[in-house]
């Protein structure tokens, strides 16, 4: 028989206010296997912990049940504490009589009875608890960062500066991401490229960072500390070992095609780099456009053009992964009410950034796409698809209020006589110096803020007629605009589903990667060793992105700080005497922790991969898959204790 001690916490009046502690103590005293019951005002305090440890020694206890608050708060406290008197931490259990009992009841009688049942059921669990030892695994101290935007770069730099190797994979040929496309950043109006390019160069030149651009991760296996990834390097048709970035090939290429980087407002050639400051400063060939006239080959001084290049796969082993895959804008095609992308002078925010950018297609002169005229009336539409659960995206994209204010300000700086109108639902300017910035735009720049939505717009006589409502004056408004700029929602990247499957990270209903805990673990995913940064997780601005990326990097560094990892031993094992190798659990395991060993005729578990979700235990038709210290018998006994 196990000798179990039960320690009941008053938690001040948090528990004692609703639960009759003395009565509870006497009720538990008689319960089988319980050899000692004691209560104390604050069990989690130092004297409280000492009291438990003293009794473990005096009464020679095998296990303890602490009846207190939620295990998510103090399980660790007590488990660490009992180790000081050499009790296995897994022989210490928490009976939650606060959140699940005293806090949610008023009736003292009922609450006391319920607390007794909760404690008894925990005693039943404890009776069959086994002492467990943490599982140890070696750590490969090399990180993989996916996405070369500001989030990925920041994470990579932080990890690299801590002395660890980093592989940075970017799907485009240059790092920089969306931030490289921006003109100036709110609220300080720093030139975006001016603050970003030094970082890009630092990434490129950092001895600890291996940059693999124009590539994508196609396969991931392994587990925290020991991931194996396959990276597909897309054919560039240029030998980057030889390419010196002189750009002679670009100048000579006869093909012109709309530039993705310029949001189709400018052109690029078939052989190109996305923008002049590209890092690495190398060119690639767009085979869809290339006519293979070989002019580039003729003009290349280093003989780098190689039309025989093929996609190749490189394999890497890393210990941690940061996902910083960024975002895309919701396409105007999805907004038929705003022209569905058919009206040339209706553009999205990113396109307007390019029109404002000194290095953009118009060298920073605001010219409208249709005829290149300088627009005199510009309408900005906020929430163009955001906060619209019926038709579009239900969420707030967080940055649009600020960038629209910035757009209007920058437009007024460029076109002094111009008139800027902003349709908005509310102004959300929560951020350091953000509200002051918006006030400045309203008051000093004389931008007209109209609270209301635009119902529709159409082209007429070279203008875009915008029909909306100003709900403050309760009047319908019609503006004949030269240019309309929409703040369309921030969406996860197109293939987020594949990414989520590849890395086994869940996504929310809007497609954003899900963090382990919305408040307390915002940069971790639920798969240990995989971290999140930037807009892949949720829409956010640059300061937040950089902060989150640094957070993710510091998690990676913490992981790398020891050469061994400890994995919680509460995993779902296999009873080899029962397992018939039916294999049903193998397909059920979301962490690929289970494999069928055909030779032995049983399923084997990779203990490090197991996250103890219990899916296999539910699925196992023979009862061979049992979660340690949460076995079917334990759960059944617990239920019996509650019902009985």
């Amino acid at each position: 028989m196990k000798r179990i001690g039960v320690f009941i916490c008053h938690c001040g009046i948090n528990i004692a206010g609703t639960v009759d502690i003395e009565k509870l103590t006497s009720q538990i005293k008689e319960y089988p296997n319980v050899v000692h019951v004691e209560n104390y005002k604050y069990m989690c305090s130092s004297p409280g912990q000492q009291l438990i440890n003293q009794q473990i020694m005096d009464k020679n206890l095998d296990a303890v049940v602490v009846a207190a608050c939620s295990p998510s708060l103090h399980e660790n406290t007590f488990r660490t504490s009992v180790q000081r008197v050499e009790m296995n931490p897994y022989n210490c259990e928490i009976a939650n009589i606060r959140e699940q009992c005293s806090w949610v009841h008023d009736d003292k009688q009922i609450a006391t009875d319920k607390a007794a049942k909760i404690i008894k059921s925990m005693v039943e669990k404890t009776v069959l608890d086994e002492p467990l030892m943490p599982i140890t695994v070696p750590v490969n101290r090399k990180a993989l960062v996916i996405g070369g935007g500001v989030a990925g770069m920041q994470a990579a730099l932080n990890i690299a500066n801590n002395g660890y190797e980093v592989i940075l994979v970017e799907r485009e040929s240059s790092i920089g991401g969306h931030m490289a496309m921006l003109s100036e950043t709110f609220p300080t109006l720093d030139c975006s490229q001016c603050i970003l390019t030094p970082k890009m160069v630092e990434v490129d030149q950092h001895p600890n960072i291996t940059l693999i651009t124009y590539s994508e991760v196609v396969e991931v296996s392994g587990f925290v500390g020991n991931f194996k990834v396959k990276i597909k390097q897309k054919a560039k048709y240029v030998d980057w070992e030889k390419c010196n970035g002189c750009g002679d090939c670009i100048t000579e290429c006869p093909i012109n095609t709309p530039s993705e980087f310029e949001q189709q407002l400018g052109e690029r050639h078939a052989i190109y780099r996305p923008f002049p400051q590209a890092v690495p400063n190398k060119v690639i060939v767009d085979m869809d456009e290339c006519i293979q006239c070989m002019v580039c080959q003729v003009f290349c001084p280093t003989d780098a053009i190689d039309f025989n290049q093929k996609d190749s796969i490189v394999e890497q082993e890393v210990g941690a992964i940061v996902l910083a895959t960024g975002y895309q804008l919701y396409s105007l095609k999805n907004l038929p009410e705003y022209g569905g992308g058919e009206i040339e002078d209706v553009i999205d925010g990113l396109a307007f950034e390019r029109l404002l950018s000194a290095s953009g297609p118009t060298q920073g002169v605001v010219k409208r796409p249709s005829d290149g005229k300088i627009p005199q009336d510009v309408v900005f539409i906020q929430c163009a698809g955001s906060r619209d659960p019926e038709n579009h995206m239900p969420y707030c994209s967080r940055i649009c209020c600020m960038y629209t204010a910035k757009h209007a300000m920058l437009y007024k700086h460029r076109v002094h006589q111009g008139r800027a109108y902003i349709f908005y639902m509310d102004i959300r300017s929560g951020g350091k110096d953000y509200e002051e910035f918006v006030q400045r735009v309203m008051e000093e720049e004389r931008v007209v803020y109209l609270r209301g939505k635009v119902s529709r717009l159409y082209e007429e006589d070279g203008k875009v007629v915008v029909c909306g409502t100003d709900t403050l004056t309760r009047r319908n408004v019609e503006i004949k605009a030269d240019l309309v700029v929409t703040a369309t929602p921030i969406r996860p990247i197109e293939d987020i589903d594949q990414l989520s499957k590849l890395f086994k990270i869940s996504i929310n209903q809007n497609g954003f990667l899900t963090e382990a805990h919305p408040k307390l673990r915002p940069v971790e995913s639920l798969t240990s060793g995989i971290y999140l940064a930037g807009c892949a997780q949720a829409p956010r601005d640059i300061p937040d992105t950089v902060a989150q990326a640094s957070g993710a990097a510091s998690m990676v560094c913490a992981l790398f700080s020891s050469d061994q990892l400890y994995h919680d031993p509460i995993i779902a094992g296999v009873d080899e005497d029962l397992c018939s190798g039916c294999g049903i659990c193998v397909g059920v395991c979301p962490y690929s922790a289970r494999t069928l060993n055909r030779e032995k005729g049983i399923v084997e578990v990779n203990e490090v991969l197991c996250e103890a979700c219990g899916a296999c235990s539910a699925a196992c038709p023979s009862g061979a898959a049992q979660q340690r210290n949460f076995t079917d018998i334990q759960l059944k006994n617990m239920v019996k204790a509650i019902l009985g």
């Binding site: 029962l578 190798g581 193998v586 699925a619 061979a624 049992q626």
Partner: protein, 326 residues
């Protein structure tokens, strides 16, 4: 005759059963002669002329072992089971019906009134214009005649008496019967309450196990009667419901070898309490869809799920009566 007295006394009895378990004893063929050499059969209504009185005459515990097959659904069966328990040192539940309730246990899906009504009134072969139903007592001009009461619930043997061992199967295969008798004779028995069959489930010994894919995921549930399954392919992987993963092995894969999926007659392993629920849990885990509607459609295509998953074990399941399922 003194030698005869030293032989252990053995009783066989049948309750609600089809007679297949009796056949299984006869199936021992010439081996039965060896068995009869070593034991003294003192009660076996199907084969020999013994009366209840004969059993009553034995002192308590005088019979070494009673093998009782069939489920318990009448007062008479209950009475005999209790009597044999009293007179026997060991009671072995013999066959699926005694072990788990078996197919008669499916009667628990209906009320006794419904069963009577169907059986005595509605069946097309019946001619019962006066709607006479069985009664426990009937007055006739020659006096009162009685019938044992039919219970409202069909029960497994261990729901009415203590059972020491279980010989599973519909019917138990001869080798397991011989092993059990051997073990009893040699007093080489596992802990009380054990099922006298291997611990692992049927996949362990299934001749088709090599055809199993690395991950079993199914998109469509196929009925065996409408599907052509190659004789070497895992049924479940082909979408045919096979209870094998949730069923104890030891049957000799008789159904599998006849190209029929396992129906679960050996019951669950020792770690599982409710075979049907466990299999259902396993099946729902391998449905290859993320779409709620699609999952529902796939699962709805299982015809008679209770009859399929609980074919042999309904009476001994956690929810013994269908009324509770509703």
């Amino acid at each position: 005759m003194s030698e005869q007295k030293l032989k252990p006394k053995v009783a066989f009895y049948w309750c609600a059963s089809c007679g297949g378990c009796e056949e299984a004893v006869v199936d021992l063929a010439e081996d039965i002669l060896d068995v009869v050499e070593k034991i003294d059969i003192v009660f076996w209504p199907v084969a020999m002329d013994f009366k209840k009185q004969d059993v009553e005459n034995y002192s308590n515990g005088e019979i070494a072992v009673s093998f009782i097959n069939g489920a318990i659904r009448t007062e008479e069966q209950l009475e005999m089971a209790r009597l044999l328990r009293k007179k026997s040192q060991l009671v072995v539940a013999f066959g699926s019906c005694s072990h788990l309730g078996g197919i008669p246990g499916l009667a628990n899906l209906y009320s006794r009134e419904d069963l009577f009504d169907t059986y005595y009134n509605k069946l097309p072969s019946n001619d019962n214009p006066r709607k006479i139903l069985p009664l426990t007592e009937t007055e006739t001009d020659k006096g009162t005649i009685t019938l044992p009461e039919i219970h409202r619930t069909v029960k497994a043997l261990n729901q009415v008496i203590n059972v020491d061992y279980y010989l599973p199967g519909c019917a138990p295969p001869p080798d397991l019967i011989l092993n059990a008798i051997q073990a009893i004779l040699e007093n080489n028995l596992p802990p009380l309450g054990s099922v006298l069959a291997p611990e692992k489930s049927l996949c362990d010994t299934c001749p088709r196990k090599d055809s199993k894919p690395d991950k079993i995921l199914i998109k469509k549930i196929n009925r065996i009667s409408l599907t052509e399954i190659p004789p070497d392919k895992c049924f479940l992987a082909e979408g045919v419901i096979c209870m094998g993963p949730a069923t104890r092995s030891g049957c000799g894969e008789r159904c599998i070898n006849a190209n029929m999926p396992c129906r679960g007659c050996f019951g669950p392993t020792s770690a599982v309490e409710d075979q049907g629920a466990k299999f259902l849990s396993a099946l729902t885990s391998i449905i290859d869809s993320e779409d709620e509607q699609e999952i529902k459609a796939i699962l709805d295509s299982v015809i008679d799920p209770t009859g399929l998953f609980y074919m042999y074990s309904l009476a001994s399941s956690v929810k013994r009566k269908y009324q509770d399922f509703k």
